[in-house]
């Protein structure tokens, strides 16, 4: 067990716990966008910042990536933390002014869009948190999408923005996206995602379109379950 102090409260957590879980476990709210328990952490949204004190030195860290340490003094509400968080929020808001999730969060943090940060128009709702990329790699296991280009031009998508051959159209990236940037439309026997149209499989029992054919082929290949067993939807199985 590791003992540490959070906002004057003494808590002990098991070794290897990240500060974010330790602080939330103590009942203190920390906003985040990119931390998801199912995938590895990337510390991309920077909203979970806290101030830590070790000896005489204080510094700002992202709590989702910083492991709890013995004797650490954590402050989640100091002026410095709130200033940093507010600035991060202002920048996120300037990048994606149209995102409802960000607008709501900004309101909660009492942040308004700033005239000094010109609003972007070409970034959609993407905050480049890499959640979708990590899910595609770690949960689905196909790595169909990634980040490309650098600096202000950095965007998420399939390589060279071309139709991806490895994408299976499962939609896990849409599900995990915290701001709702990725677009997916399912109409009847077609599902459109990442610029490619997937053919949907009909359930052999109930006749409902339930998953892209490519996805079922992928699962069949990975698990060894014959494809004709997978063409029955999860509800009829």
């Amino acid at each position: 067990m590791v003992n540490l102090t959070v906002d004057g409260k003494n808590i002990s957590v098991s070794e290897g716990t990240m500060l974010l879980e330790a602080i939330r476990g103590a009942g203190i709210a920390i906003p985040t966008l990119c931390a998801h328990e199912a995938v590895s952490r990337s510390g991309a949204c920077r909203l979970c910042v806290v101030e830590i004190k070790k000896g005489n030195r204080t510094r700002i860290v992202t709590s989702c990536l910083y492991g709890a340490e013995e004797g650490l003094i954590v402050d989640t509400k100091s002026d410095r933390v709130l200033n940093v968080r507010r600035l991060v929020m202002e920048l996120l808001l300037a990048r994606c002014p149209e995102s409802e999730v960000l607008q709501k969060l900004a309101k909660e943090l009492c942040v308004e869009s700033q005239a000094r940060f010109a609003a972007d128009t070409d970034k959609g709702k993407c905050i480049l948190c890499r959640s979708c990329v990590r899910v595609c790699e770690e949960i689905v296991g196909v790595s169909a999408i990634g980040l490309f280009a650098r600096g202000s031009q950095k965007t998420v998508g399939t390589p060279y923005n071309e139709k991806s051959d490895v994408c299976i159209g499962c939609g896990a990236c849409v599900y995990v996206c915290p701001t709702g940037h990725i677009e997916m439309t399912s109409t009847g026997d077609k599902r459109k995602i990442w610029g490619r149209t997937f053919k949907m499989q009909t359930c052999t029992k109930c006749g409902k379109f339930f998953a892209p054919v490519d996805q079922l082929k992928f699962i069949s290949k990975k698990t060894g379950v014959p494809l004709n067993e997978l063409t029955v939807c999860t509800e009829c199985r």
Binding site: R24, A38, I139, Y175, C177, C206, A211
Partner: protein
């Protein structure tokens, strides 16, 4: 949260893994209601306080001196789960104002069975919703007072045989139609009303998360199959829930500020309710004419809902 439309296979791996209703409780085998409670707890997360009316879920989860709950949970009488939940909400607000508790956001949830919601606790619920407390009320509807021995409630459907509305030579089970509770809640003009079923877990979790994100009163009506009381095999609980949705007996929809949306899980063409009645002992005695009468009512109600969705679509 985005709309879960035919998400399969990978999305379930991304939902909350923490169990807030521990195993080892004493629900009957095949209980769909406890499955629903578990999904509810998963969707709501740690920062929740629950006020639970008397009923199955109280009996099975809190056998003294044990408890299955990992979140603060208060057992109250049959009639006042909603009033206690609204009291907790007001109390938390006062304590927060005084700086006595942490500033995290805590969702207050009232829960009860169909009897506790539609009959005994009805006026308390109506009052709490009207006052606009920031809370969720979840009704776990298994269509009778199952915990005390299958007595009829106003949630019991027409024709079902219960111990206080038994089928026999003179009577053919319940003589009245099921009270349309979600519609009554819509009439309270609250921000969010939804119907859910644990046979559709992703839809369930999405609706629960939506209710959680709304600052104001919301009502969730959960259809929970009770194999013991419905006289059906316990392994049929999940498929029975699906049949109820596919036959239109219990349509899945949500109402946001008076605007309707049918769930994507709803089939385009409904199955005949015979399929749903077939597997249940409580409908065994019904004659073909009686089933036709019930079928007509179900079709009318479903068409009514579709019309409402057409004219009061979300986004219009």
């Amino acid at each position: 949260m985005n709309i879960v439309e035919n998400f399969d296979l990978f999305a379930p791996r991304l939902i909350n893994k923490k169990e807030l209703l521990s195993s080892g409780h004493r629900a009957c085998s095949g209980c769909a209601e406890v499955l629903a409670v578990r999904l509810m707890a998963k969707a709501l997360g740690d920062n929740t306080v629950i006020a639970s009316a008397t009923g199955c879920m109280e009996i099975v989860s809190s056998m003294f001196p044990t408890t299955a709950w990992e979140v603060p949970w208060i057992h109250v009488a049959f009639e006042n789960a909603a009033s206690v939940a609204s009291g907790i909400e007001a109390g938390l607000k006062a304590l927060r104002k005084k700086g006595k508790i942490d500033d995290r956001y805590v969702k207050v949830v009232g829960m009860g069975g169909d009897g506790a919601t539609m009959d005994i606790g009805f006026q308390a619920l109506s009052g709490a919703m009207e006052r606009g407390h920031d809370m969720i009320y979840v009704c776990f509807d298994n269509e009778a007072y199952m915990n005390t021995g299958i007595q009829r409630s106003s949630g019991t459907p027409m024709g079902a045989s219960t111990t206080t509305a038994p089928a026999g030579k003179v009577s053919s089970g319940q003589k009245t139609w099921k009270k349309n509770m979600p519609e009554i809640m819509v009439a309270h003009a609250i921000p969010y009303v939804a119907t859910v079923c644990p046979s559709y877990p992703l839809d369930f979790i999405r609706k629960m998360e939506k209710a959680k994100s709304i600052k104001g009163p919301s009502y969730i009506h959960c259809f929970s199959v009770c194999p013991t009381g419905w006289r059906c095999p316990s392994q049929m609980a999940v498929s029975m829930g699906r049949l109820a949705i596919e036959t239109g007996v219990f349509p899945l929809y949500e109402v946001e500020n008076g605007h309707y949306r049918l769930s994507p899980d709803m089939p385009k063409k409904l199955k005949p309710i015979k399929d749903y009645f077939k597997g249940q002992g409580r409908f065994r005695h019904l004659s073909a004419e009686e089933i036709d009468k019930i079928q007509e009512k179900v079709t009318v109600e479903f068409n009514k809902l579709k019309e409402k969705e057409k004219f009061l679509k979300i986004g219009n």
